[in-house]
């Protein structure tokens, strides 16, 4: 059973069609990197998966369960909102701009969602949170506020925060694009570690080197459709499509 499945997904913002019929299936443990120019619909696709944006047409399945089915911007199926919320918590998300909660300490950033959404026991979740912070190398920062951390540290806290909800899939939306170059490595390191542990990951990125190294599959998106996909060797080293070639030429 696939972890995530998109069937003919379309998404429009007003007259602008950003996704023009995307079909995609992701298997458990798979690490998928999505590359493509700005405006190609990569981020929108991620945001549709966890309902930050609602799709205009198509179907979304999460772990085999229908999470959304729409046509012309209208629901074709009434899906229990509680069920949708539960399915969405299986999708952890890491944002380009970290979006840590600035009024909460690092440890509280990690524990707040499990406490209020999953009604987790405070002591238990704090133990888990400390382990997660240790894993991302920040246990000594647990009582700091996010404003006192570097961008790389903030992004690693954001990864720990998403992991604290015990997601089955982690989605990364250009996680290193807002970072100073010298801080990119530490975040990619944390992500590599996560991939090695078998996490299912969907990563929208411009780090082609990283994609080559960790991805099981690379997807090149262009103008709202999946233009080419395959192993990193296929897509990055031997692209078949003209559009893929010209994109890679521009950024490499």
């Amino acid at each position: 059973m696939s972890m995530v499945k998109l069937v003919n997904v379309r998404k429009s913002f007003g007259n602008l069609e950003v996704l023009k019929g995307v079909d995609l299936e992701i298997q458990p443990g798979e690490v998928v990197c999505i590359i493509g120019a700005s405006g190609s619909g990569k981020s929108t696709m991620l945001r549709c998966l966890n309902h930050l944006e609602r799709i205009t047409d198509g179907e979304i399945y999460i772990e085999g369960e229908l999470a959304d089915k729409r046509e012309n911007n209208k629901d074709l199926m009434k899906i229990d909102p509680v069920k949708v919320q539960t399915l969405c918590t299986d999708l952890g998300m890491v944002f380009q701009n970290f979006n840590l909660f600035p009024h909460l300490s690092v440890i509280d950033n990690v524990t707040i969602a499990p406490i209020i959404v999953k009604k987790a026991d405070k002591n238990e979740i704090e133990k888990i949170a400390l382990d997660l912070l240790k894993e991302v190398g920040l246990s000594d920062k647990k009582d700091e506020y996010p404003s006192r951390l570097s961008g790389g540290q903030q992004q690693r806290v954001a990864i720990a925060r998403a992991l604290a909800m015990d997601p089955k899939i982690m989605m990364f939306d250009e996680p290193t694009s807002a970072l100073d170059p010298e801080l990119v490595g530490e975040v990619l390191g944390t992500m590599r570690h996560l991939a090695e542990k078998g996490m299912t990951m969907i990563i929208v990125t411009h780090e082609i080197g990283f994609a080559r190294e960790v991805a099981d599959r690379v997807i090149f998106m262009d103008q709202g459709v999946i233009c080419e996909q395959g192993t990193p060797e296929d897509v990055i080293l031997n692209p078949k499509e003209e559009r893929t070639k010209s994109f890679l030429n521009k950024i490499l």
Partner: protein
């Protein structure tokens, strides 16, 4: 100098002034949050009702609102039911000032909520929080620091505007000293009143500055 009766009269007037301002700021903040959420709501009815509320109470003079509550409503009641209905002037003042400050505070709160980066709501939703949980735990707490200065402003305005209640048979600070000044032709009472107003607004200013600093702790960068 002031004799004891005058001293107590000024004290009582000051209490009236302070009471109205405090009741209005507290009730105004409470209902202001509700009206602000109405303005931000996607529900058309909630949106229209709160828009209309703000439009009316910001768009008409506070003095007029006070008159409507204290003078007009008892007359309307008498005309429609044939029974007399007298509103206690203090209660009337509490209601009018609270309704009015609700409108102003609602706009202050709405603007503060909208000033919080939309990524905060998205991150909260991506972590599985409902709109309500995201609002109460993530977005609204971040508005507190941004609210302190404009709410302090509103509080000071309210404190001074309480002098309008002299028109509905209440002896607030200003009316008390005015009565004294006109009875013995001495202007010094106005100086006392000014000193008391300044004393009260200074307390508010200093207290709100402190609160703002305290709430801003998490925004301080570096070591």
């Amino acid at each position: 100098m002031l004799n004891q009766t005058q001293l107590w009269a000024i004290f009582d007037g000051t209490v009236v002034t302070v009471e109205i301002a405090i009741v209005a700021i507290i009730l105004g903040a409470f209902f202001g949050v509700i009206v602000a959420l109405g303005r931000l709501s996607k529900n058309k009815v909630a949106n229209a009702v709160s828009w209309f509320y703000i439009w009316f109470f910001r768009g008409t003079p506070l003095l007029l609102q006070l008159f409507i509550i204290y003078f007009a409503i008892p007359i309307i009641y008498l005309d429609s039911t044939g029974m007399t209905f007298n509103i206690n002037p203090m209660v009337g003042a509490f209601i009018a000032f609270s309704l009015n400050s609700t409108a102003y505070l609602a706009e202050i709160i709405r603007a503060a909520i909208e000033s919080i980066d939309s990524g905060q709501m998205e991150a909260a939703k991506a972590l599985g929080m409902s709109y309500r949980q995201a609002m109460t735990k993530i977005v609204i707490p971040q508005t507190f620091k941004r609210l302190v200065a404009p709410v302090g402003n509103e509080f000071i305005m309210l404190l001074k505007d309480t002098s309008l209640v002299s028109t509905i048979a209440l002896f607030d600070l200003l009316r008390t000293v005015k009565t004294m000044a006109s009875s013995d032709g001495n202007w010094i009472y106005y100086v006392y009143a000014a000193a008391i107003y300044l004393f009260l607004t200074t307390i508010i200013q200093v207290a709100f500055d402190k609160i703002e600093k305290k709430l801003g702790v998490y925004e301080r960068q570096g070591n």
